[in-house]
Symmetry: C2
Subunit: 349 residues, 2 copies
DNA sequence: CCATGCTTTTGGAACGATCCAAATTTACCC
DNA sequence: GGGTAAATTTGGATCGTTCCAAAAGCATGG
């Protein structure tokens, strides 16, 4: 009954055509659910597809149709739960739209970033979602991705000459306002000596968060001492290490707005090591609302950014861009939400 | 000087060939660094490639060569830091080998899993790394991925008739031994009434962990009361909710071996709500060593599984499989390491 | 100048799908 | 039955690359 499937080779549309005595064109129409084909033939073809275990070769179709069915997702740090959630959100939407996610992780290295983008571009993605590594250069990125593939910049601005990249869409968090809210909250709790702790002052998100902090301090008529602006690598380890800088001469702060949750959790450990109990002797806030923020001791007051929703949003934005390639570039700034927990109590009497 | 690049269309190898007056075949040879081509011509072609901003179309090449340059990575829960780290490890190795990662996240849904696999298969990956959703059926998976694409099963066994899938490679954690070590540790601390908390008893990893626990209890001559085997969805939320089950009649346990860290952290919260202080009034252990395990209150005794290294290992295993498609299938069981922290102190006097 | 062997280059047919214009079949009406 | 319109099917070219066998170029030596 019928031919046997081919050996050592995948079943193609021609195999199906031969198997049920129609042309390749007809099989192709069936595959795409065209109403042109007679339901009799359709049934016959579909039966044969099943019988031979045909799987569609999308690469071949894309080649002929000059289309693409993939989106590149390039992240500076996939291991960070924030980006992992983001990626899950992106994939959720892309998957349901029939696109496939090409993943690339750069581990915060601009070199790897260029290499990864170069490699992904060879697969001709329909669009790119990029959360750039710190210090990524606009010109270099541009020459890696070209000018024809739509790109959505997430989370961070790139450095260098941005004017050449003004056709990119952008999706950023409202860092400045978030940080301002956190600072205002600490002020409302009665704190007067408040530090901004962590991050690299050259990264765009850190600048924005510092601005929000400075704004709030200024509005409240509070001064900022230079040693209250402490930089550190935005991870727990370095945050522990740099803790002492907060207390090097001058007026010691009684609270700190931290660059993000990881830094805040690190600072908590650092404070412990100095004999200070965070949440009682010293107030602090984070940024991101990573899972552990709710279960730290004490639970961390922070800014929720709902990364999964951001991922969905990013995917939707890039889909819209594909719909209307010529529409004006869009910059979206999403609000963040202050979650008050126990780490930001009033100052000690 | 020279032709202008084409408009509204990507630069192809023919454009380059025309641009410097050689045949397509020669350009192709240059691209692949063939020693056949004269270094004069090579220079001319390379100059033209730069000038026109050519990007290689790997899909077309793969079609002609009947090869593939992608690996599908399908995960049951990308948002889980364990799998995020795993994915980062996979991508790290694949990226450096010139492969690209096709990501798919199934959110623990077997339906989505089949859909995702179907969609990814259409892109013809060279191999698949799959961490199956709970309850995935061997037959269904097999019919989704076919028998020709090598598959590496990670983390969990699938259910149903496994015999048809015995050509798959496997990479599992030594759940049973890990759990046994944790239990033995609690016993050594002096606990006699020890529960096994969380997970679904039908999932293979939960079964294995329970076995390790049972083994240790039996060896120590300790009995296990039925209400000490508590099931819950392996996340924090449900772990909090099911806490009371531990104390519903019978002898109350003084310690629990938890299915994983998320569950353990949830149980900590649940204990708090009952007025018990974890680590002092009740000892517990986790599994995974997620980042927050080290900073919870108290820090959690758990089993380190180094997911990033597992990711790298998985990528390497699948690469090896591609090298030797006919080699005997391999099952790798990686040991886990007990990390003793403060949550597993001796019982209260 | 031709034969020989080496290096370098090249047309044209693939790969597996889609598009398109044209051919074929079917249905319907007078 | 013939004519017309609609429904269905179909070759053959094409997407951007690689493969292959064969051609062309170029020394060398007799």
């Amino acid at each position: 009954m019928g031919n046997t499937p081919p050996v050592g080779r995948k079943v193609t549309l021609s195999d199906i055509a031969a198997g049920c005595d129609v042309s390749r064109a007809t099989v192709s129409l069936v595959l795409r659910g065209s109403p042109l084909v007679n339901k009799h033939t359709r049934a016959r073809v579909e039966e044969e597809l099943r019988r031979q275990g045909y799987v569609y070769n999308r690469a071949a179709a894309n080649l002929r149709r000059r289309t693409s069915s993939s989106i590149a997702l390039v992240l500076n740090d996939l291991a960070n739960p924030f980006f992992a959630e983001f990626a899950a959100g992106v994939d959720e939407v892309l998957g349901s739209t029939g696109y496939v996610t090409l993943l690339g992780s750069t581990s915060e290295s601009t070199e790897r970033e260029l290499a990864v983008l170069g490699s992904l571009m060879e697969h001709g993605p329909a669009g790119i979602i990029l959360s750039p590594a710190e210090g990524s250069d606009a010109q270099q990125l541009l020459s890696a991705v070209g000018t024809t593939t739509p790109l959505l910049l997430f989370n961070r601005e790139v450095s260098g000459d941005i004017s050449a990249c003004d056709h990119w869409d952008r999706l950023f968090l409202d860092n400045q306002h978030g940080s301002r809210m956190a600072t205002e909250h600490l002020i409302a709790q009665g704190h007067k000596h408040i530090a901004f702790y962590g991050g690299h002052s050259n990264s765009s998100s850190c600048k924005q968060r510092r601005n929000g902090y400075a704004e709030a301090m200024k509005s409240a008529g509070l001064r900022v001492e230079p040693q209250w602006l402490v930089e550190c690598i935005p991870n727990r380890l370095d945050a522990v290490a740099q803790c002492e800088q907060l207390f090097n001469g001058g007026t010691a702060p009684t609270a700190a707005v931290c660059y993000n949750d990881a830094v805040a959790l690190g600072l908590m450990l650092g404070l412990h090591q100095r004999g200070l109990q965070p949440g009682r002797d010293f107030a602090l806030t984070g940024f991101d609302d990573i899972a552990e923020a709710a279960v730290s001791a004490p639970p961390l007051t922070t800014l929720a950014v709902t990364p999964r929703a951001r991922g969905r949003q990013a995917a939707e934005l890039i889909m819209q861009r594909l719909q209307e390639p010529a529409a004006a570039p869009r910059q979206t700034i999403v609000p963040v939400q202050l979650l008050i927990r126990d780490s930001s109590s009033p100052p000690h009497a």
